[in-house]
């Protein structure tokens, strides 16, 4: 049994909120630079150059890469031999978000009620996901998620008879419908299986995996590669102005599901796909 004070979690969440918003992950940076090298359409090359210049300025000057500094999605993998002390875990996470968004000059983009609106003023609450795992450590991942791309995401309850082709069609249909809106080049997170809600969570988790790390199952790794190529033949291009580079990466996460179903979720993310992880 290891005791961890939740104040430690507050501090890590605070720091990761700021770092994630100022420093684009290396995998996304590399993907953008690789796509720029392969892009042969002039308008697209110019947009990608600006995008690279932008994330370089953000890191250098320690300012947000994008003004939509997102809802703070926080994933905690908590070792089951950890005993949390010092107060409420969810309050500690929210306090980390509150401090991070204030100290980092990040935009407060959360409303307290979905219909009646009203900004909470501190970007809380976090979208918190906890998972119990073996061990006595806590793995903390913060992924600020912008809504230009979130709004273009979709879940569909496919019939098992739709098979692999049904999944391919749904992914392409969702990317096509998103068009220029989610700030392409995009990153596509796909969740297949589980229940209605689990599929969506898998898709979000897929966005937390670096784009240069394929699914460990060769069947899905192949599908990731195939779908990324298909998306990059659509011609939408950076910002939707036309070109090869519509997506930087596509990650698939799966889990078992019911005999009657094949839920599939497509979570779209922009070229500012952010995630930072720390283990305590």
């Amino acid at each position: 049994m290891r005791e961890i004070d939740v104040k430690q979690i507050t501090d890590v969440v605070r720091r990761l909120c700021i770092e994630a918003n100022q420093d684009l992950p290396a995998d996304v940076q590399n993907a953008i630079r690789c796509c720029r090298a392969c892009e042969d359409w002039e308008v697209a090359q110019n947009v990608l150059d600006k995008i690279i210049e932008n994330f370089e300025i953000a890191k250098e000057e320690q300012v947000p890469i994008c003004q939509d500094t997102g809802m703070a999605c926080v994933f905690l993998e908590i070792g089951q031999d950890v005993h949390l002390t010092g107060g409420s875990l969810s309050e500690a996470v929210d306090e980390g978000v509150r401090r991070g968004y204030e100290e980092g000059y990040l935009r407060k983009s959360v409303v307290r009620d979905p219909v009646r609106r009203g900004n909470t003023g501190d970007n809380t609450p976090a979208m918190l996901y906890t998972e119990l795992v073996p061990g006595e450590q806590i793995k903390i991942t913060v992924g600020p998620k912008g809504f230009g791309s979130e709004n273009m995401s979709a879940v569909r309850m496919l019939k098992p008879s739709a098979g692999l082709q049904g999944i391919r069609d749904f992914i392409l249909e969702t990317v096509e419908a998103a068009g220029p809106n989610p700030c392409p080049p995009i990153v596509v997170g796909v969740g297949i299986g589980g229940t209605f809600d689990k599929a969506a969570l898998l898709a979000k988790k897929a966005l937390m995996r670096p784009v240069d790390v394929p699914n460990p199952d060769p069947f899905y790794a192949e599908l990731e590669k195939e779908m990324l190529e298909k998306i990059n033949r659509l011609g939408i291009g950076p910002q939707g102005f036309g070109g090869r580079t519509t997506a930087l990466g596509l990650n698939i996460e799966t889990m078992p599901t019911h005999i009657a179903g094949m839920p599939c979720a497509v979570n779209i993310s922009c070229h500012v796909t952010r995630h930072k992880t720390e283990v305590i």
Binding site: A44, I65, C66, N119, C270, V272
Partner: protein, 187 residues
């Protein structure tokens, strides 16, 4: 074609801009997004004046991040314009002629643009740190309680945009993609 223009956006100037043109804007623009547009359109419905003179005005769909000490404004890239589609024709009807944002517009917005000689400029979505460098002044003018969504007057210099939809209704999202795909077809 590359153009450097000075705002306000008159009818005459708007008619010289074409879909696909790279246009660097200098002059005053007003920031507004979801909540600000809702308030402005409600004010107009009550017969009230807007907090600024909309004649030939350009509205930038943006909710900037807070300025750090020494900065004019925080990161300030465009938000998705489609959410303002419900309000844009009303804004054009009172004289607002330019819109800066990103993403597709509804046919009724394009119809209003043709009717009122308006131009839809695209700025690079997600390039907020870069675009903020072209913003030289920022003044709060109304709805301060809305935070990032408050109405601000900005002075921009050589602010980089591309004409996405011109006042004849030509759309770069359709044209750019079609041109690219046509270039990939075997001859």
């Amino acid at each position: 074609m590359e153009r450097h223009i000075t705002l306000p956006l008159t009818v005459e100037l708007a008619r010289t801009l074409h879909c696909g043109d790279t246009v660097y804007l200098t002059g005053e623009v007003y920031t507004s997004r979801d909540a600000g547009h809702k308030r402005m359109c409600e004010a107009l419905a009550r017969g009230e004046q807007l907090p600024f003179d909309p004649e030939n005005a350009t509205i930038y769909y943006v909710g900037p991040s807070p300025a750090k000490p020494g900065q004019v404004i925080g990161s300030a890239g465009p938000t998705t314009s489609g959410r303002m589609d419900a309000y844009a024709p009303t804004m054009m009807s009172v004289g607002a002629r330019g819109m800066i944002g990103k993403g597709a517009r509804l046919p009724e917005v394009v119809d209003a643009m043709k009717k009122y000689d308006s131009v839809y400029f695209g700025a690079i979505g997600g390039a907020g740190a870069l675009l903020a460098k072209c913003i030289k002044k920022c003044e709060m003018i109304a709805y301060e309680d809305l935070g990032a969504e408050a109405l601000r007057k900005l002075y921009v210099e050589d602010f980089p945009t591309v004409v996405i939809i011109d006042c004849e209704g030509n759309d770069l999202y359709e044209k750019g993609r079609a041109d690219y795909l046509a270039s990939k077809k075997p001859i």
